[in-house]
Subunit: 509 residues, 2 copies
């Protein structure tokens, strides 16, 4: 029997990507509410169809712009076959053009990335009965994300996160439809990025020059793994603060702090008074721009402590020469303006932490401001103020997921209302999305995964789904429990939300 | 060169157990402060000796009461060989009586368990230089635990913990010299213990009757694994409260709650008014006593809610008949007295939660009271009151390690002073030890290990080491960081204490 279109995805239907699969025989009661994050528009029935792993295959539609050879989808088909049939150890019939006379489902998407998201949704619709047979219910889905930027920040400077743990995180991100990996790759404690142009930065600034670095090959592997899952990699090279580790491999970069009239031996932020600083930053950022293909680059700019600059006579002389007086925010603004201009020349769009807006409201209009400070009252005010100035913003403040407490704190992440601030409809459109930040003071590969999942998934639904349809945190609870078990089933060490069990418990050690 | 006695352990030297190992050639600077928990009495020098994995072996002393064939030590030799030489993939020369003409170290211990602890200490003394060579410094150690009871509680009812995760926990416990695994095996949410006499208890009361149970074989495996590491297994069958899951497989065990004059359909604690209850408990505890060989058995007795008992007319009638009036604490006491008496007949010593003392001060004098309630002020008062009554006590209150917060909460566990309460020297002697409790509301195999380690190790040092020598939490910090890296190196997913790195990061996923 031919049952076209039982499962369909995607808002736009330009290039008519679609895949075929076998769907036969009614029964059952699983519904689309088992999909996390919740799709925008959906209908489903209790009519269920069994899936036969031995006969199941994905295929490209005849009129699809994408065809066999589209590396992203070819790879996704292989991945999702295993995710859909976790028990099945044989080989699936992949890309086999045998026309099997049974049901099929179609997926239409404007882009390959939309198709990848649709495959994720489809994989979550498939379930097993008590006998291990696979089923999917009759379903229609029309889906799209609420916000285009749905990120997770990992901090690989306070602790080194081995590449395999980053790749595993990317896998889990795709399951929650995150699409940006914000790689806070360097900071005060260590500089693990192995630069081609400045190899001393990691040679002297990493925790270990061989075992605690990301080589160019590692970075390419991360970017490629992310890309196949529809995830962009946003590198952050935070300056002028948060750069202690840079100073080890690059002399004359950091400001020497003074105690009275003599250098104290300590170093402060990047020295904004030396032309060599900007030459170095231009060279480094040129390399970073070419290594990381994404159109965005994160330049940091947060938490600059002025005391070292103030202590340094050369910096003070520069201030006088530039007519900044004693206003060090002008110096900070001067520095950031130069850095942002460098990235503009490199055809990149800058993202900066919100501090930069406070110092300098005249940065390029396409710069994205990253809001990280404070309480809901606080970040709402900032959302208003910054969007009123016409700036695009990215919300991280309510999702500092490294902060832990006893109990169900995922509820706090879920109930965030990113657009609940005073402003016009035009202002609201300037909120491009949000980001879950996992700062690394207390986190490395030993505890990253259970701290991140499923807590980050709560934010993922907020960033993807319709707010009205997902307003009840209590209704979300059983759905998130169910999704968490799916993550565990997929080998993600996602921690439990409360008392209970999964059919398949985590089997690793 | 013959260098006997460079490393020696153990306070008592009755049976002259000792092992031999190769120690040659001086250099270096590692000290005994790298051992966690800190030994009681030690001296060490910067003189270091290289260890050659290919020639290293353990042997029994000629005058040792234990000889080849002592299963605990034979197994420990194999285990510790791998722990001492983690990089070495060849086979060590185990139990080879070749007399190699080089240094040796001796370990004297009164019992095999003391020898096992000494092996752990020795394994922590061995370190590698940058070239991967193994060394140990010249060291003399005389060691013994401050408290005889150093426990960890795992709750396998709120979440099922697969056996492999329990075994891994036992491994890590041995590294911190914990010696009691308190297995809170059943509770309200599930009954995973597969009883021989009452198989319906797990068949109907477990989360799943096949995949979420501990079979008799599983239990034997846990006990055997623990025993080889010098760890006793203390089973807890908590009643009369915390027994919801019991009722599913054993009808007429729980008290039917009433709403007015009719049963509400809900059930309360075990029904203390029926003779069948005591027959059931006697049969179950007889089985438990034979399955778990330890001389202690934990009977629970905490958090009994009287409202259901109050609602039930049969229970009220029983109260009248027994002359308890309306004092339900007398009913609770009556029940616990019966249960404790059952275990006395079974030659077991009972441990009960502190609540029991509040209800009934006339329990057998050898019963151990388990203090779990409240703030330091609170538990100190209880320690005073209970030891004044001549009862032995076990302190858990300050070590509810399932409670998490952001930052270095291990400091709170480290600074506990178990004997800092008002009482005589005789009273202080009644504190037999302490216990780290990992209740299972938010914990299963996905996050158990990083939540437990190294936070539990902070309590381990408090329970093992001299309090005066370990009074500074700041001095403990780098030592615990170092020990945590040792745990990671041994494959234990122990989380970081703060910014930094280990030479060997966790490589699992």
């Amino acid at each position: 029997m031919e049952t076209t279109g039982l499962v369909s995805f995607g808002r736009y239907t330009c290039s008519h990507l679609y895949f075929l699969l076998l769907i036969v025989l009614p029964l059952g009661q699983h519904t689309v509410e088992g999909v996390w994050p919740l799709p925008q528009i959906f209908t489903s029935s209790i009519e269920r169809y069994p899936l036969n792993p031995q006969a199941f295959y994905f295929g490209y539609g005849r009129q699809s712009a994408a065809q066999f050879g589209c590396s992203v989808l070819d790879a996704a088909f292989i991945r999702y076959y295993s995710l859909i049939f976790p028990d099945y150890t044989g080989n699936g019939v992949l890309h086999n053009n045998l026309s099997v006379s049974a049901g099929k489902a179609s997926l239409n998407a404007e882009t390959v990335w939309g198709a990848v998201r649709g495959l994720e949704t489809f994989s979550q619709l498939v379930y097993q009965d008590d006998f291990g047979s696979y089923f999917v219910n009759q379903t229609e889905i029309d889906d799209f994300p609420r916000f285009p930027f749905r990120g997770i920040l990992l901090d690989t400077s306070r602790h080194f996160i081995p590449v395999h743990a980053i790749l595993k995180t990317l896998d889990a991100m795709a399951y929650s439809k995150f699409n940006v990996f914000h790689w806070h790759i360097v900071d005060d404690p260590s500089f693990p990025y192995q630069s081609q142009t400045f190899p001393d930065l990691s040679r002297k600034g990493a925790f270990h020059p061989m075992t605690h670095i990301y080589t160019q090959s590692d970075v390419r592997r991360v970017i490629s793994h992310a890309r196949l899952r529809g995830i962009r990699v946003l590198p952050e090279f935070d300056s002028p603060g948060h750069t202690k580790s840079w100073g080890k491999g690059q002399s004359d970069l950091l400001t020497p702090c003074y105690s009275g009239s003599t250098p104290s031996g300590a170093f402060g932020p990047v020295n904004p008074a030396l032309p060599s600083t900007y030459q170095f930053m231009a060279t480094l950022l040129k390399e970073v721009s070419s290594v990381f293909p994404d159109s965005y680059i994160h330049l940091g700019g947060d938490e600059v402590n002025f005391s070292c600059w103030k202590s340094n006579p050369d910096v003070r002389a520069f201030m006088q020469k530039m007519g900044f007086g004693v206003d060090f925010t002008k110096l900070e603004a001067f520095y950031m303006e130069n850095i942002v201009n460098i990235t503009t020349f490199l055809n990149k769009t800058a993202i900066v932490w919100q501090d930069v807006f406070d110092y300098h409201e005249l940065i390029p209009k396409d710069t994205v401001l990253h809001i990280w400070k404070g309480s809901p009252a606080n970040y709402r005010k900032e959302l208003s103020r910054m969007t009123k100035a016409g700036m695009r913003v990215l919300l991280a403040a309510p999702w500092y997921i490294n902060h832990i407490s006893y109990g169900q704190d995922w509820r706090n992440y879920y109930t965030v209302q990113p657009l609940n601030f005073s402003g016009t409809a035009e202002q609201k459109k300037l909120v491009i999305g949000g980001e879950v930040c996992m700062w690394g003071e207390y986190v490395d590969a030993t505890n990253l995964t259970p701290r991140l999942w499923p807590r980050a998934s709560a934010a993922a639904e907020r960033l993807w789904s319709d707010e009205k349809q997902t307003s009840s945190v209590d209704k979300a609870f059983p759905r998130l429990q169910d999704f968490r078990c799916k993550l565990v089933r997929r080998g993600i060490r996602a921690e439990p939300l409360y008392v209970g069990h999964c059919k398949h418990e985590y089997q690793g050690v």
